[in-house]
Symmetry: C2
Subunit: 252 residues, 2 copies
């Protein structure tokens, strides 16, 4: 049984807590949060604290806090030579204080407050600075049900960057679709099955093979009609840039 | 029982054929294609022809042909005063020859060759120029299992435009994610659960509410890191423009 001290009670921390609770080979020995009120509801399930000097001994310390807080919190830990990881996609593993063994458990997923998340849909990218820590992190991630992948710093960085494209930027395209449909009192809901199908398609096809539409067909007439319809200059700029990008990808 | 003559044997035509075949109140009386070979395999299921002068009498003629072919084909039809619709999101309903009653059955979905499509996931937008034609089109679409929505020309146009944003442009963001991850030999597959979750989230949340990430948080440090990582000038431009768009949507 691997014992974990979890630090942080935000979205990621809470999802880790719930996933570890269900796992067989891992347990949360203690949960730390500066906002102790936010975890009081869990005090029958694990020890809780808001005091770093009360931290228990454990096999693994997971720092599920905001990017900016990672370095400071890791320096404030009152112990040495234990295994400490953060959960961020973009923070350098060396930002963790070197007095401890360091690593990263980066869950490549978007977490919603409230909604449950099955960790079989949460790939965990594992990075370590020393070889011995890897098997422990691998066992923790696997116990949660996650697919795991060992990555280096560069790989974690490009995965985080790519996640911004396929998640945040994609969601902004949904938002623009919402604005455009509402401008004519058409229903955005009609687009939802298409949105699901677009995501489903690339589970088995490469995005290159899955592409369709006027940009790929170099269908000038339709592209002109669309640019005429777009009133928002920013939407027009996005339409032009992504159309050009598709055409550069697919040529003639 | 509503009888349909289907014209066109591309992706959309073939998916309509298969859906009508399963429906109870509609039947394909005849299938027309200039490429008769492409529908020969169906000759035991319906009458097939490549000759317009052989077209049978039917309650409805569905022109599932490419945008550019719609006007010419509708003028070439050797009859008058019958109900003729096209299936395009962007072609004007008036492009159909006015010798017949005119309408549109626009399926708001992306069809893949080969893969079956359950029409309960294919919303059909219905447009008609005369009131009497609407109930027939509504009954056909409903019989296929589709959610239906009556739309006007402007609404159909903005739905088609929005579909380009949420389907083609989103798919290009997946493609860019693919390129970026491969540049460091990281696995694009790790992003697939995130892609599904991003699409799933907006089935119940608005895209506005679903947004997260460095752009929305105005997290300058992460944004700079990402721009440093991006080597392709086009990817950089897309990153900047979509980040600005998110920030315009969400303010400070």
């Amino acid at each position: 049984m691997i014992s974990v001290v979890l630090l942080g009670s935000g979205n990621v921390g809470t999802h880790f807590f719930k996933a570890i609770e269900k796992a067989e080979n891992v347990r949360v020995a203690q949960w730390f949060s500066r906002q102790i009120d936010s975890i009081k509801g869990y005090k029958n399930k694990t020890a809780i604290t808001d005091n770093l000097s009360e931290l228990m001994e454990a096999d693994l310390y997971i720092l599920a806090v905001s990017d900016d807080a990672i370095a400071t919190l890791s320096s404030a830990l009152p112990f040495e030579n234990r295994l400490v990881v953060h959960t961020s996609g973009s923070v350098n593993v060396h930002d963790l204080d070197k007095k401890n063994k360091r690593g990263v458990l980066y869950p490549l997923q978007t977490f919603s407050k409230g909604a449950e998340m099955d960790f079989k849909n949460v790939p965990i990218c594992i990075e370590t600075l020393d070889k011995k820590s890897y098997p422990i992190l691998k066992e923790v991630a696997t116990s949660l049900g996650s697919p795991t992948k060992r990555v280096n710093s560069n790989q974690r960085r490009v995965l985080h960057l790519s996640a911004v494209f396929v998640n945040n930027f994609t969601n902004q395209l949904y938002r623009i679709g919402h604005e455009i449909t509402e401008s004519e009192a058409a229903e955005f809901d009609l687009l939802k099955p298409l949105i699901m199908e677009t995501a489903k398609k690339i589970q088995t096809l490469s995005p290159y093979m899955a592409q369709t539409g006027p940009a790929k067909r170099h269908d000038k007439k339709t592209i002109e009609k669309h640019l005429d319809l777009l009133k928002n200059p920013e939407h027009k700029a996005i339409y032009k840039l992504l159309t050009k990008s598709i055409q550069n990808t697919h040529g003639r």
